[in-house]
């Protein structure tokens, strides 16, 4: 699901790049970016709420914003993809550890 969405945005980024400036595309790009960014940030926050955020996720998201503002949509989207992946992995890690940690306690 996620990767389909992302590849769509990569593709649209590429189209924008090829066709040059197109204000409608730019607006669409921005809306897409915002939606994806928020989704990644929500994941990050969900992980943070259970002390499971990874170190670099926030930085990826911050940098993505800057790259987007500088017009580097492809780079920005790649960073969001990394942040999304980290957010998902962190949440999965928390879930997995729910049962596993007890086994490490010295008996």
């Amino acid at each position: 699901m996620k990767s389909i969405m992302l590849s769509k945005y990569f593709a649209s980024g590429l189209v924008t790049f090829t066709l040059g400036l197109c204000s409608a595309c730019m607006a669409a790009d921005q809306a897409d970016f915002d939606a994806l960014w928020n989704e990644a940030n929500e994941k990050r926050k969900a992980a943070a709420a259970i002390n499971y955020e990874w170190r670099d996720t926030g930085e990826f998201l911050e940098t993505a914003k800057k790259e987007q503002a500088a017009g580097n949509h492809t780079v920005a989207l790649a960073l969001i993809a990394k942040a999304l992946e980290q957010g998902s992995d962190a949440l999965a890690q928390a879930e997995r550890e729910k049962d596993l940690w007890q086994a490490r306690v010295p008996k």
């Binding site: 955020e53 990874w54 980290q86």
Partner: protein
């Protein structure tokens, strides 16, 4: 039939598991035994020296530093701060009995009224706030200096965390324990993975220190920092080294972690402040 046996045995196992867990004291005994068995040549009282209790080469350099450790500057600063009156005329001595001497052993403790763990650093800031002063930052600087002074005048006291008969206190302990053993961060390590199971092994050029005694010598002057830092500053650094986002010093999770980890070292001496690489 086979399914029934499995079901039955898992019930038996679960029951045994529950009845076998007698609480923090059982944890502590097993925890300390783990390190005593892992490092049989280290005298039990020497674990307060962290990595230097198991690594002779670095111990020698540490002893050189201890000839005149840089934390002595912080102790002096801390003493001055401790003896400086607040604007309302009161001072830290009004919060810490006996001029702060031997007060280190009273922390961390669980305060049932506040329903939270109170650490030495938290108590220092509570004292300031109660007397109309701004709280200090928790990771380093003045707060670490005052903590260094209070630790210094309490050297030789024994770590003696008492978990009161209180659901909140036990929960705080359990939370700290769970935090300690859960893997986290991109590198997927728990605190215990490095400082328990793998303690004594090398991570690149560094040897991993054993967890037993970890809390005894803080705050520390760390050469890498070029200055003093509190236990929670180190927690944060450790978390970030496994690429988890570090939490704020004195966050609930870190206070509970300190509570658990201190309990594990019960019986060992406080020997802070310390010097580390």
């Amino acid at each position: 039939m086979k399914g029934k046996i499995i079901l039955l045995s898992s019930i038996v196992l679960a029951t045994v598991g529950i009845s076998a867990y007698a609480g923090p004291e059982q944890d502590r005994v097993a925890f300390q035994k783990f390190f005593h068995d892992k490092f049989p040549r280290t005298p039990k009282a020497d674990f307060i020296n962290g990595i230097y209790s198991i690594d002779a080469a670095s111990r020698e350099q540490w002893l050189e530093i201890e000839e005149f450790p840089p934390y002595e500057i912080a102790i002096e600063e801390g003493e001055e701060l401790f003896n400086t009156s607040f604007k309302n005329g009161k001072s830290y001595a009004d919060c810490f009995e006996n001029d702060g001497k031997n007060s280190r052993k009273n922390y961390p403790y669980f305060d049932p009224k506040r329903a939270e763990v109170v650490t030495l650093e938290l108590a220092i800031n509570d004292c300031r706030v109660a007397n109309g002063e701004e709280p200090l930052k928790y990771a380093k600087g003045k707060l670490a200096a005052i903590s260094a002074y209070l630790s210094f005048v309490s050297r030789g006291e024994r770590i003696n965390v008492v978990i009161p008969d209180n659901a909140g206190a036990l929960q705080a302990y359990e939370n700290g324990k769970e935090f300690y053993y859960r893997k986290r961060g991109q590198l997927n390590f728990s605190c215990f993975d490095c400082h328990g199971a793998a303690s004594g092994q090398r991570v690149r050029a560094d040897r991993l220190s054993p967890a037993l005694g970890h809390v005894s010598h803080f705050p520390v002057y760390r050469s890498k920092w070029g200055g003093m830092g509190t236990l929670h500053r180190r927690f944060k650094g450790c978390n970030e080294q496994v690429r988890a986002k570090g939490l704020n010093p004195q966050s609930q999770a870190y206070k509970e972690l300190e509570y658990f980890l201190s309990y594990m070292s019960n019986g060992l001496e406080f020997n802070g402040p310390g010097a580390r690489k």
